[in-house]
Every structure is written in structure tokens, then in C-alpha cells.
């Protein structure tokens, strides 16, 4: 079994066939799973090769004039554009803010590029812009530059938003996947799966009446609070597209460690769990917009949980897994019935099962 697993891992890392056999982009390439990963690893990274990309972080970290700066970008395409707990505007600000925070940075400035589809109601745009304003204020960032383009009707999905962000890293934190060490503890700040299920509950053809609100929230305050306590934080990662599972698999691969998760410890709300069961989805792969994992030194785990719990966005914070050096890149899940299963990245997005 051990050999088989290694063989598979080797294959995933050194597949000689470019991308996969898809001659065109399919939706799965944007799903945050192995297809997205293949695009990054086989097309983008080799083409743009530099040490900042090689860090495989949520953003790039570099020095300008003696200050450590984090820089990141993200594009937002979501349907429906308004969903319980937020809209594309809150996502566009919080998502980029959170990517900066995951580098250990205090977010300062963001840009906003809007691609609008001809015919978008002005009222809709106004609501989105107000959401962006409110989210920026709440996160303590300023939207300092922007751009607007309009495309023909039918050539866009009402609105696409790109945001980039800059933040400064205070103190000498070095937070990146490569810093994860055997013995570290994986902490999470709250229950998973809300954002993905909130959006899905509103999609055409799936109007289930679930009271699931997106967890979309800016994570700057809680993370900076955690860092201020002086605990040894090795890696931070927000659990967006691809969910907890994809984030952990990615980190285990980059850091060359094994990560063992405990399913019973991973918080999932009753309504998310019910909706996932109903659709045949696994909550560990469902997207979040206000959840993150902090991988910390074991000696500091208790203090870190305490610090997280003292913030409203971390009320449910707890340890969910541990890091070891047993097998590089492997992620396991101790299931609720006490057996062990391998956690892998999905190919693309999770698709509901048939029966």
C-alpha cells in the first residue's frame, strides 16, 4: 500500500501530459481542485517563474524600502450575485483582504476592477458598490484605485470584479506553507461549509429553503490579534474554493509533511450538514469566505485557541489536526467511526451525486 501511494503522488507531481486531455478550458479548471492546480503548476508557474510564485502562498511577500509588503489579487464571479449573508461586493473586498491577512499582513489598500455587462441595472450596481464601501470600512482598508469596463450583453454574467490588495507585515512573522513543522497543530476558527451552501441554496433549480448564511467576513482583526499574542504561527490559509480539504492537501504538499485531521473535531452546523447530505456533498470540500486554518507550534496551541476564541469570528475555534513527518504530502482523516481515510483534492468542483 505504501508503495502504491507514493507512486500515485509521484504521478500527480510529474505527469508528463500537459494539463490533462482537455483541449479547452472547462469549468473544472476554475474549481480549485486538481484541474486548477494543474493549470497553475504546468502553465503559470513555469512561465512566470520566480521565488515569490514558488512560495505557493495566498499572496506574494517582498521587501520595499526595508518594509515587508504583501501583495495579492483575486477575481470574483458568483451566481447569484446576492446571496444570504453577502454579495459579490462583500466577497470582492473580504476575499482580497483575507488573502493579505493569510500572509500575516495588515491590509491597507485595495484596487477594484469592474467588468459590467450591458444592461446591468444601475440599482444593482449601486447596492454592490455600497457593499464594497461598507466591507472596506469594516476591514480597515481603502479602495484607492479602480477601473470599469462594459462588455456586450451576453458576454458577461452581470458583473465580474477583480480586486488587488497591498498590506504591510509588522514584526518579523514568517508565515508560509514551507514553515510548517512536524508536531505543529492545525486550528480552525469556526464551522465550515456555510458560504458554498448559502450560494448553492439560491441557484436556479435548487431553491431549497435552508437558513444558511454565508460566513463571508474580514479576517484581519482576528488574525492580527492572534499574531499580537506572540504565538508561533507557521502558516495561515483561508478555506475558500475547494474548502478545508483542498487547502490542507495543498499545504501538506508544499511543506512536505503529513497532516492528520480529526473529522469529529471539525465543526459543521446542522443545516450545512443536512444540505450536504441531501446533495451528496462532503462539507470538507465546500467553500468558505470567513474561515481559516492556523498551523501553530504545538507548545502555543492552547494560547492560540484562547486568542482566537476571544474574537467573535473565532468563538468556535479549536484544534482539528496535527502535523507529522510520516509521509510527505499525505493528508488523512480520522472518520467519525474511528477509521482512517485519505483526503485528496477533487478534480474540479464537487458535483451532486445521482442517488
Amino acid at each position: 500500500m505504501a508503495d502504491e501511494s507514493n507512486e500515485r503522488k509521484k504521478f500527480v507531481l510529474s505527469c508528463p501530459i500537459p494539463i490533462t486531455e482537455y483541449p479547452r478550458i472547462v469549468l473544472g479548471h476554475g474549481g480549485g481542485g486538481t484541474l486548477s492546480h494543474a493549470l497553475i503548476e504546468k502553465m503559470f508557474v513555469p512561465s512566470f517563474k520566480n521565488p515569490f510564485l514558488d512560495a505557493r502562498h495566498d499572496g506574494a511577500v517582498f521587501e520595499i524600502g526595508g518594509r515587508k509588503v504583501a501583495f495579492t489579487t483575486d477575481s470574483y464571479v458568483v451566481r447569484p450575485i446576492f446571496f444570504p449573508g453577502g454579495d459579490i461586493g462583500t466577497l470582492a473586498v473580504n476575499g482580497t483582504v483575507n488573502d493579505l491577512v493569510m500572509c500575516g499582513a495588515r491590509p491597507l489598500f485595495i484596487s477594484a476592477g469592474l467588468v459590467l455587462e450591458e444592461g446591468l441595472p444601475m440599482e444593482t450596481l449601486w447596492r454592490i458598490v455600497q457593499s464594497m464601501k461598507n466591507s472596506a470600512e469594516a476591514a480597515g482598508v481603502a479602495i484607492v484605485t479602480g477601473d470599469t469596463k462594459v462588455v456586450d450583453k451576453g458576454k458577461g454574467d452581470l458583473i465580474f470584479i477583480n480586486t488587488s490588495g497591498v498590506g504591510v507585515i509588522e514584526g518579523d512573522h514568517s508565515i508560509a506553507p514551507k514553515n510548517v513543522r512536524p508536531g505543529d497543530v492545525v486550528l480552525i476558527n469556526g464551522d465550515i461549509g456555510r458560504h458554498g451552501m448559502a450560494v448553492m441554496s439560491q441557484r436556479e433549480g435548487l431553491e431549497f429553503d435552508a437558513a444558511i448564511q454565508s460566513d463571508c467576513a474580514p479576517l484581519a482583526e482576528i488574525v492580527l490579534k492572534l499574531l499580537a499574542t506572540g504565538v508561533e504561527v507557521h502558516c495561515l490559509r483561508d478555506l475558500t474554493r475547494g474548502g478545508l480539504a483542498s487547502a490542507v492537501v495543498e499545504i501538506a504538499g508544499t511543506a512536505g509533511v503529513q497532516i492528520d485531521l480529526d473529522e469529529s473535531a471539525i465543526p459543521v452546523s446542522g443545516s450545512v450538514r443536512a444540505a450536504c447530505e441531501f446533495l451528496g456533498l462532503d462539507p470538507i470540500y465546500v467553500a468558505n469566505e470567513g474561515r481559516f486554518i492556523a498551523i501553530v507550534a504545538a507548545k502555543d496551541a492552547g494560547r492560540a485557541v484562547e486568542a482566537l476564541r476571544s474574537h467573535p469570528l473565532g468563538a468556535e475555534a479549536r484544534p482539528i489536526g496535527t502535523v507529522s513527518d510520516r509521509r510527505a504530502g499525505l493528508v488523512t482523516l480520522r472518520t467519525t467511526i474511528g477509521t482512517q481515510a485519505i483526503v485528496d483534492m477533487l478534480s474540479g468542483e464537487q458535483l451532486p451525486r445521482i442517488c
Binding site: M1, A2, E4, S5, E7, R8, F11, V12, I17, T20, E21, Y22, P23, R24, I25, V26, L27, G28, T34, L35, A38, G205, L206, Q258, D260, G270, R273, A274, E277, L279, G280, R326, R327, L330, T332, T335, T336, I337, G338, T339, Q340, A341, I342, D344, L346, S347, G348, L351, P352, R353, I354, C355
Partner: protein, 366 residues
């Protein structure tokens, strides 16, 4: 969650596994028919809990896996037409036909949509009268009633731009095909609980008698699966072979009579080809003559024709329980969920994909 946690409770699951160990005196090979059960077994590592004498083999009950490549090719042909909105359950979109999958059609501009119910496809047809809406009707007896209802309603509401591409399959003939194969090594079956919710379990009685094989109607949670295994092993050890129901909270002997009536109103039993296995007589459902106007194969002139998988895929042997996924030389190397050689590597219910994703290993190896 209420009504589910108790079936995933570590203590009761382990206690039941202990009882299975207590009654097992020799090797038995048991097949779980349904892909949903395979998913649970591999996701939760259920076979880790069983005594080494018991081998679980994975059956043909994954609708995505057994839908023949030529039907997917037909789906691709139809979905490529500019006048068509092609609707399917999510899983089917990723399955390769002989050349490509429905995702690729979508990428080329085809209007391919994931729906969660055939009735949603019917709603789309009512709202888009100028276009043809086709629903890919796959699945076992479980999905047949809703698909029948969609056609029934289409006729009642006079929605003429709606049709089904039908690839329905039936469980009992598949079990018979497996049992009558000279390579068969299955000694007991866990029947698919949800199929029996619709159909009841009377139709399994003649099979149990004729082939001298215990058949236990089984649910989908870890405790359910072990309960099915426990009852099956009990019969095997005692030399009995009858049909028993381990899923009483969902299945009654007679099943859902209304749903069966609806299936009979719209569908009739036909010969079907199973991917990787071949033709099985009287093993599928097709539209009755009274509803033939809703048959997409006829409407779009894609009836007939066959195509074969030419790859080294051994999914046929896997679906019949003759081989396990990791016994395939291509498993995990030339065949992965990103580049599947066969359908069993595509669906989360497919045995190969389940093994790939959740492949278990003993704790000392980790």
C-alpha cells in the same frame, strides 16, 4: 444530526463489527450492489473493521459507470445542437464517451445544464418553448419514478419541446447476470436500500432461491452497512439463503406502489447494454409506445449504433466483483479521476474513484 448520527456512532459501529467477528468462521465474499454503499464503505473505511475472512466486492450499482459509451456519445451529439438545452445530473457531465465528455461540449458553447430533478428540466422546457429541452434519464429504479413523472407531466401539460434520453437500468437482472457468470465469486448480496424503497423486495426472492444466495436489503450509513453484512454473514454461516430487510426504516416489502404504477405507466422493460459488461436481457427501462414521442433518440435521429471502449479499462470485471480497483495495472497511474480510462473512475459512486480518493491503509503504515 438527528436520525443520522446514531448510524455513524463510533461505539455502536465498533460493537456491531465485533459481533460480525464473533460469528465469522470462514471466508465469505459479499457484494454491495449500490455505488452509494461503495462510497460509504470506502469513505469510512468500513472494511478495515471487518474480519479478514470477509471480502466486500463492489457491484454494478453506479448509474454513471454502467451507462454505455455510445449513449454518452449520443448525449454529446444532441447537446451539441444549437436548438437544444441539455439537462443532466451533475455526475454524468464528467463521464467520457468514446472521445470526450459533456463538459467539453459546454466548453464549445453547448447549452449543458446541471439540474437536480427531471421536473426542473421540464420547467425549463415550459419556459423556453422555442428550444428543445432534453433530460439525460439515467439511473436505477430509484430515479425512474421522477423521470417517469416528468414525461407524464409533459404530456398532461402538452409540453412538446421536452424529451428524455433514456438509459435506465434495473438491479435484479444485473444480480442474475453476475450470479450466472462462470467467474462469479459472490456468495451474498447487500441489496440497494433506495432501489427497494421504490420496488420493495419481493422480486429478489426467486433469485435467492434459484442461486442459493442470501440477499439483505441494506441502507447507506456505516451502521446500516455493517447491519447488512451481519445479517448476510449470519445466513451464510447458518447455510440459509433468503431475502431479509436490514433497512426497515426506509423499505417495506411491497415498496412504493404509487411510484411503481407511475414507472409502469411510462416505461417498459427492455434489453440494455451495460458499460463494461455488455447486453443484459430485460435489464433496463425504455419509454412505452404511448410515450415514444418523448424519446430523444428518435426525435434527434441518433437511435442505433454502437461504440466500444477500446482502452485497457477493466471496469467490467470490477463492476461484476471479479477484480478490485487496485488490481488494475492502470489504477492511479494511467487512470485517475482527471484522466479516467473508464467510468468507474469518474463518479464519486464509482468503485475506482472511491478507492482513489479514500484509499485506506492500515494505521501502522501511516
Amino acid at each position: 444530526m438527528k436520525f443520522m448520527d446514531e448510524y455513524r456512532d463510533a461505539a455502536s459501529v465498533r460493537a456491531l463489527a465485533g459481533r460480525i467477528r464473533g460469528i465469522t468462521t470462514r471466508p465469505w465474499t459479499i457484494m454491495e450492489v449500490c455505488g452509494g454503499q461503495t462510497h460509504t464503505i470506502v469513505r469510512f473505511g468500513i472494511d478495515e473493521l471487518l474480519p479478514k475472512e470477509i471480502t466486500l466486492v463492489h457491484g454494478p450499482g453506479c448509474p454513471v459507470c454502467v451507462t454505455p459509451a455510445e449513449l454518452i456519445d449520443k448525449a454529446i451529439d444532441i447537446a451539441s445542437r444549437s436548438d437544444v438545452i441539455f439537462c443532466s445530473f451533475g455526475d454524468m457531465i464528467r463521464v467520457p464517451g468514446t472521445k470526450e465528455n459533456l463538459f467539453s461540449v459546454k466548453a464549445r458553447g453547448g447549452d449543458v445544464r446541471v439540474v437536480y430533478s427531471p421536473l426542473d428540466a421540464l420547467k425549463l422546457a415550459a419556459a423556453n418553448r422555442e428550444r428543445e429541452v432534453v433530460f439525460f434519464a439515467v439511473g436505477f429504479e430509484t430515479t425512474a419514478p421522477a423521470n417517469a413523472m416528468a414525461v407524464y407531466q409533459a404530456r398532461r401539460q402538452n409540453i412538446k419541446n421536452f424529451s428524455l434520453l433514456v438509459s435506465h437500468v434495473l438491479v435484479p437482472p444485473a444480480i442474475e447476470a453476475i450470479l450466472s457468470s462462470p467467474e462469479n465469486r459472490v456468495q451474498g448480496f447487500l441489496a440497494a436500500g433506495h432501489v427497494c424503497t421504490v420496488m420493495g423486495y419481493e422480486e429478489y426472492r426467486p433469485i435467492a432461491e434459484r442461486y442459493n444466495v442470501p440477499i439483505v436489503v441494506t441502507g447507506f450509513e456505516p451502521y446500516d452497512i455493517l447491519q447488512g453484512v451481519y445479517m448476510c454473514v449470519t445466513q451464510l454461516e447458518e447455510g440459509r439463503s433468503v431475502v431479509e430487510n436490514a433497512y426497515t426504516r426506509a423499505v417495506r416489502r411491497e415498496g412504493n406502489v404509487k411510484a411503481q404504477e407511475l414507472i409502469r405507466e411510462v416505461f417498459c422493460v427492455v434489453e440494455r447494454k451495460w458499460r463494461g459488461i455488455g447486453e443484459i436481457p430485460r435489464s433496463g427501462l425504455g419509454l412505452r409506445d404511448e410515450y415514444i414521442e418523448f424519446d430523444a433518440e428518435r426525435r434527434f435521429g441518433v437511435a442505433g449504433g454502437t461504440s466500444e471502449d477500446t482502452s485497457e479499462c477493466i471496469s467490467g470485471l470490477i463492476l461484476q466483483g471479479v477484480k478490485k480497483p487496485h488490481e488494475c495495472p492502470a489504477f492511479g497511474t494511467r487512470c485517475t479521476p482527471d484522466r479516467p480510462l473508464g467510468a468507474t473512475m469518474v463518479s464519486s459512486e464509482g468503485a475506482c474513484a472511491a478507492y482513489y480518493r479514500y484509499r485506506r491503509f492500515s494505521s501502522k503504515e501511516t
